[in-house]
Symmetry: C2
Subunit: 115 residues, 2 copies
């Protein structure tokens, strides 16, 4: 996947995750498919507001909706979640490699001072 498309996708995915209701919906869909009506049930929110959140999640690729049944159940798209995870892991790796190098360096300095 091209860098620009990947950037666009990650912009949409992280922005979609930047709202607690949408994170909650993602977490609940991890436990299984659900209709918009079922998803809306626990929230003190209009169906319209919930539908709007679901559209944001759908556009980001975090969830998809069935085409055939009238209720069009929502399901999680785990590969999209995986893309966000990979980005964070990659940044963490850079950081921890630097910390490892720093530790090695400090240990060497310590060793030299101990002589």
């Amino acid at each position: 996947m091209g860098r620009v498309i990947e950037d666009e996708r990650l912009d949409a995915v992280f922005t979609a995750l930047g709202d607690r209701t949408r994170r909650d919906i993602v977490a609940r869909l991890g436990a299984g498919e659900a209709t918009v009506k079922e998803l809306a049930e626990p929230y003190d929110m209009t169906m319209q507001a919930v539908s709007q959140h679901i559209r944001v999640l759908e556009r980001s690729g975090l969830i998809s909706r069935g085409r055939h049944r009238q209720t069009r159940p929502c399901r999680l798209e785990p590969e999209t979640l995986e893309a966000a995870l990979s980005w964070i892991e990659e940044s963490r790796r850079t950081w921890s490699e630097r910390m490892d190098r720093l530790e090695t360096h400090l240990a060497r300095v310590q060793e030299r001072d101990d002589r």
Copy 2:
């Protein structure tokens, strides 16, 4: 940490990560501290625009700035990145446990049919 504070923090962290320039800054700070001027260097953007991105990152807790030197270098706050990672991993765990259960169930059905 309370659930509400945690929700607020994750809202801010994921929203901050929902922009490719800010993700780029986070990734670059993984390799070491940098001043705002150094961070701004590669972008075709005003210093004001870069400073704005840095303020969003600072408010989210993803980065912090030194207090003493005049340049106030920016540094990554890895625990904040870790909080975002944990949230995604948790959602993924729910999903993969369900997949495991589904597989076990399908294997049992298959076994019964084979008899």
